[in-house]
């Protein structure tokens, strides 16, 4: 049976939501792992959840990027295991160098907490394989520093290697370059996303008329782990 680790830092606040969705809604085992852990065995994937790790001191994600667990996550990513960073998790993946670019303060200078819509640009990753090509779905965002920025060189690479996974659709909550909501690494096994699929994985949480398929992110991940287990 596949097992998923959830990294927990001082200041994480979406860890329990992710834990609940995986264990109780989808039915896959997921465990909390404290940030001081420097050796992780027996896990098939890692999720870095949202929140304000280390109070966003200096820059969102930078302190957590130096923590023991993230060095272990880097090793797991290199070994080809799936790593998903959500919101602050995306910021941590960027600051740790697992994903390129930077996440800066929203261009509105405001914390944005609302529903938006995204379009799937790449459905060949372990996190999006169950979506149809170009599928759009509703999902909430909640971030102050979500403006994805990359220079021309990185943008060229991202496009060439199909690393843009989700784009905001008919909406621009933060001023990201090319409306980027999620990117993956070259190999596709590490993805960072600003929106929160764990906040839209049960019908009671979905805004009226929003039609959310956000849980498909987690379902895709679990299905890719099962396929890996069979192979």
């Amino acid at each position: 049976m596949a097992k998923i680790g959830i990294a927990v830092f001082p200041g994480s606040n979406c860890d329990r939501d992710v834990h609940h969705v995986l264990n109780n809604v989808i039915g896959v085992q997921a465990d909390f792992i404290w940030h001081t852990k420097d050796r992780i065995t027996g896990y098939d994937a890692m999720i870095i959840p949202g929140g304000f790790s280390f109070g966003d001191r200096l820059r969102a994600g930078i302190i957590a990027a130096h923590s023991p667990i993230v060095q272990e996550v880097k090793r797991m990513a290199k070994d080809g295991l799936a790593v998903l960073g959500i919101c602050n998790g995306f910021q941590i993946l960027v600051e740790s160098g697992l994903l390129p670019g930077a996440l800066l303060m929203n261009d509105s200078l405001r914390f944005v907490c609302r529903w938006t819509k995204v379009e799937v640009k790449n459905n060949k990753t372990p996190f999006t394989s169950q979506f149809a090509p170009k599928q759009t779905f509703g999902i909430p965002v909640a971030h102050g520093e979500g403006r994805y920025i990359a220079d021309n060189k990185i943008m060229k690479e991202l496009k060439k290697k199909n690393q843009i996974v989700l784009q905001y659709s008919n909406d621009d909550p933060n001023g990201s370059t090319d409306l980027i909501a999620a990117i993956c690494n070259e190999e596709g096994n590490v993805m960072g996303m600003m929106p929160h699929p764990e906040r839209a994985s049960e019908s009671i949480l979905v805004a009226e008329g929003a039609k959310s398929n956000a849980i498909t992110i987690f379902r895709s991940l679990v299905s890719s782990l099962k396929q890996k287990a069979i192979a």
Binding site: L58, R59, I62, A65, H66, V94, E95, P100, G101, A102, L104, M105, D107, S108, L109, I149, A150, D151, I154, G175
Partner: protein
């Protein structure tokens, strides 16, 4: 060992929009009557007190740590490091 003050200024590269600097410029400085001020860019400054044998050494230590620990994200930011004397 003597102590030196080293200032670290982390500033976004020119290609990055700076809505905070723009707002300060447009809505505070220019509206406040200082129309000769051409622009405002916001930045973050850290002041580090370093035990070191010389000012040059203190500056070198801070330069090294800024790069090693990614005090700034090189994709979007520049970092200026300057020792400002003994304290």
């Amino acid at each position: 060992m003597p102590k030196f003050l080293v200032q670290v200024v982390i500033e976004n590269k020119p290609y990055i929009n700076d809505p905070e600097g723009e707002t300060i410029h447009r809505d505070l400085v220019v509206k406040g009557g200082y129309s000769n001020v051409q622009s405002v860019r916001s930045a973050k400054m850290l002041k580090m007190v370093v035990n070191s044998k010389s000012e040059k050494d203190a500056e070198a230590t801070v330069k090294k740590l800024c790069e090693e620990l990614r005090i700034f994200n090189p994709v979007v930011s520049n970092c200026t490091i300057k020792a400002t004397g003994k304290i």
